[in-house]
C-alpha cells in the first residue's frame, strides 16, 4: 500500500515539476537560470520543514508522511536535471553561469534545508 501512495505522490511531484518548468520558460527569459534551481531550493526548504514538523503529529501515519516527503518532494526536486543542465552550460562555454548555478544550488539548498529544519523545530511550528 505504501508503495502505491509513494508512486502516486511521485507522479504528482514530477508533473508539477514539469508544469513549472514549462511556465517558467514561457514567462521568464533564460538568464534567470533554469527552473530546476528554484524547484530544488523550494523543495529543500519544504522537506527540511516537514522533516522536523511532521513528527509532532503521531496520528499522521508513516505511509502518508513518507508519501509526502519521499514521494512528492523527492520526485518534485531532481538531481539528474541539475547535472545535465551543467553539462549543457559547460559545453556552451558558459563556465561562470555553470559555476554560479552549482554554488547557488549546493549552498542555497543547504541553507534552505537548514532554515526549514529550524522552523519546523520551533515552538509555534512555523
Amino acid at each position: 500500500m505504501h508503495y502505491l501512495l509513494i508512486g502516486l505522490a511521485g507522479a504528482l511531484g514530477a508533473s508539477l515539476r514539469y508544469a513549472i518548468g514549462i511556465l517558467f520558460t514561457e514567462y521568464f527569459n533564460s538568464s534567470l537560470l533554469s527552473a530546476t534551481l528554484y524547484i530544488n531550493l523550494i523543495g529543500s526548504l519544504l522537506l527540511g520543514w516537514l522533516t522536523s514538523y511532521l513528527p509532532r503529529f503521531p496520528n499522521v501515519s508513516t505511509n502518508v508522511s513518507t508519501a509526502i516527503t519521499t514521494g512528492f518532494l523527492g520526485a518534485f526536486t531532481t538531481f539528474s536535471a541539475f547535472s545535465v543542465d551543467n553539462i549543457t552550460l559547460l559545453m556552451d562555454g558558459q563556465v561562470w553561469v555553470a559555476f554560479s548555478y552549482i554554488i547557488l544550488s549546493l549552498v542555497g539548498g543547504f541553507i534552505c534545508a537548514l532554515i526549514g529544519l529550524r522552523l519546523g523545530a520551533k515552538e509555534g511550528g512555523l
Binding site: 508512486g7 507522479a11 529543500s44 519544504l46 519521499t70 514521494g71 520526485a75 531532481t78 536535471a81
Partner: protein
C-alpha cells in the same frame, strides 16, 4: 504530461525501494543511498539526453522517471544532518563529491551516446 506522471510514479517507487535496500545492507553514517541513486540517475539522464531531441520517450524516461528517481531535497536535508552530526568537512565532502561525480557521469553518459 501523462508520460511525466507515469515516469514519476515508477521513479519515486524505485528510489524508495533501492534506498531501503541500500540502507539495510550498508550501515554507514554517510548517506550512501541518495548518493548512489543521484549518480546513477545523472549517468542515465546523460545517456537519455545524448540519444536525441525531446520525444515522449524522453519525457517518460528522462523528465518523469529519472527526474523523480533522483532527488535534491533529500540531498540537501542529508547534508545538513551530516553537518550537524559529523561537522562541516563531512557535509562539504558529500556535497562536492555528489556534484562533481554527478556532472562527470552525466557527461560520460552523454558522450557515450554521441560518439
Amino acid at each position: 504530461m501523462i508520460f511525466v506522471a507515469i515516469g514519476g510514479f515508477f521513479g519515486a517507487i524505485s528510489r524508495f525501494a533501492i534506498s531501503n535496500w541500500i540502507k539495510q545492507h550498508f550501515r554507514t553514517y554517510f548517506p550512501l543511498a541518495t548518493f548512489c541513486i543521484n549518480l546513477i540517475g545523472s549517468f542515465l539522464l546523460g545517456i537519455c539526453v545524448g540519444l536525441g531531441p525531446i520525444s515522449s520517450l524522453q519525457l517518460l524516461a528522462g523528465t518523469g522517471f529519472l527526474g523523480a528517481f533522483t532527488t535534491f531535497s533529500t540531498f540537501s536535508v542529508e547534508s545538513v544532518k551530516l553537518y550537524e552530526s559529523r561537522g562541516l568537512l563531512a557535509a562539504a565532502t558529500y556535497m562536492c563529491l555528489s556534484c562533481v561525480l554527478g556532472i562527470l557521469l552525466a557527461f560520460i553518459g552523454w558522450w557515450l551516446m554521441s560518439v
